[in-house]
Symmetry: C2
Subunit: 306 residues, 2 copies
């Protein structure tokens, strides 16, 4: 604490700002009080100038559409996961597939298919990827009718919906597991991506001496009645940014081996006869105590209300 | 500090986030490290849920164009003034006209007139206001050629440029003081205003049990070569929100008496013969040590680069 922020004048001012003693929502007051007090302290401790303050504020205003990327790049999204991991450990949930960050690029409402799906709409360039496995519980029991909601980037690191040149729901599908809990999909091996060139998050990361690259990865929401919702990703092994992700999402248990099949290898279940990659990965869910745990967070998402 | 944010794991994570040990800008790293550490602590201390975090983030994203009003309403702009006041006191600058906040509604480039100006374009409804006085130094010497850059709201609490139905630079002028340091202008008595109905800053203030009203006021930038730039406002006495300003800008020395002239009173210098209000107010400037002090902060402003 600094001299000014320790003063009774500032303490009283903070109470005024947070509406202490007035009507309103107590939790909002408490948290706003803390955030504004911390900002006062930061300004005072580092002798932040008016110019610096207004520059920073306008930098946030101009960067507002990318604040989802800021939350990832500044580790806030990872921090929420660390907290959730601790809570899981406290109740003995240590066997399920690890969670990792959602990121800001999910789009609700992807086509729902049974058991098997093709994500690339038949004309997306890139090496074919087959990914398959089971959704199961921690005792190994298959979970039939689970929803594997998968989304990933193309070989340019772009996502459909956010890149309007791509078809609707390109590289996005929901797949319902079969009676054995099995899912399988055909897609293309994604590339990593970087935060938008010229964006304020890129400028901020540069000022921090950092980059804005993510390694190649595939996102998943896994859900089933009676089980806790899982938000996770798998990484494509070998990516140069595998352990240097600007969003801090990589976990060792989420880097499955990639099996390369050459032309001379056995023809796969989807009838492929070319060089392709395959990933086998099971998703392991923990039981839900209450129905609310079956759902993803209520974060605002593209098309979620459409 | 909480258990998680005290951990060496989180300390190391914060260093990663702030790019400690990498290239970049040391000051940005230091301040980002502090801000992110404080946010981690806030999340942990109040057990902020994922839903709450994402709701808050999206609330900021949606409210981003109003963040200037947030800075005023959350007392940050006032806090910067308190710091500047302390610095003035430390160097013995206690006689000048008090500063108060700029607010987010200045527009650069208002018409420049010599000695006298009319701000209301001749057809703005409201009671006529004559305001006049001198710009002088702390020893009483007139400052000729000072610029009185004045802006205020109309009787609906609206500002030109932001209310596109109003003429360009309506109720905005720059007036150059005459050889005696005198300025005079004719305008209309402004009303206070409230933050936009339905805006996120309004919702936030409501959650804090507060309102978003400002008392009627008139903004000024006062500048002259060799003198420190002054950002200030005067309030119109008698306003119900005079000492309950959501932006915390009221100062006792900035509430000049309002003189009501009735039809039977003397005709004023501008030839008025109707009921009108008059304010007499001198602006007192402190000397600048360095040229940079002659200018307002480099805050981004409407039309400043046009």
């Amino acid at each position: 604490m600094t001299k000014l922020t320790q003063s009774s004048e500032i303490e009283a001012f903070l109470d005024q700002i947070a509406g202490v003693g007035k009507a309103g929502e107590q939790r909002v007051k408490t948290i706003v009080h803390k955030i504004v007090a911390d900002l006062f302290e930061t300004i005072d401790q580092f002798d932040v100038t008016d110019d610096e303050f207004w520059h920073a504020l306008n930098f946030v205003i101009a960067g507002a559409p990318e604040l989802g990327l800021w939350a990832a790049g500044l580790g806030l999204e990872r921090f929420l996961d660390l907290r959730a991991d601790l809570k899981d450990q406290a109740v003995g949930f240590v066997e399920g597939t690890p969670r990792t960050i959602e990121g800001p690029l999910y789009v609700a409402g992807a086509p729902l298919e049974k058991g098997t799906a093709r994500l690339d709409d038949g004309n997306e360039p890139g090496e074919v990827l087959i990914m398959q496995g089971r959704v199961r519980d921690t005792r190994g029991n298959a979970i039939a009718g689970a929803i594997v909601d998968v989304w990933h980037a193309n070989t340019k690191g772009n996502y459909s919906y956010f890149d309007k040149t791509l078809p609707d729901y390109n590289l996005r599908r929901r797949i319902e597991t079969d009676a054995n809990g099995h899912y399988i999909f055909r897609s293309i091996v994604p590339s990593g991506y970087a935060v938008p060139s010229g964006s304020n998050i890129e400028k901020l990361l540069t000022a921090l001496g950092r980059h804005g690259n993510r390694p190649a990865h595939i996102h998943f929401f896994i859900s089933a009645p009676g089980y806790r919702h899982l938000t996770t990703q798998i990484n494509i092994e070998g990516d140069p940014y595998l352990h240097d992700d600007f969003a801090y999402a990589t976990k060792d248990a989420l880097i499955p081996p990639v099996i390369r099949h050459t032309k001379t290898a056995a023809i796969n279940p989807l009838g492929l006869n070319e060089t392709y990659s395959e990933i086998v990965f099971d998703f392991v869910l923990n039981p839900a105590d209450v129905a609310a745990e079956e759902n993803e967070s209520s974060r605002a998402r593209a098309l979620a209300d459409a």
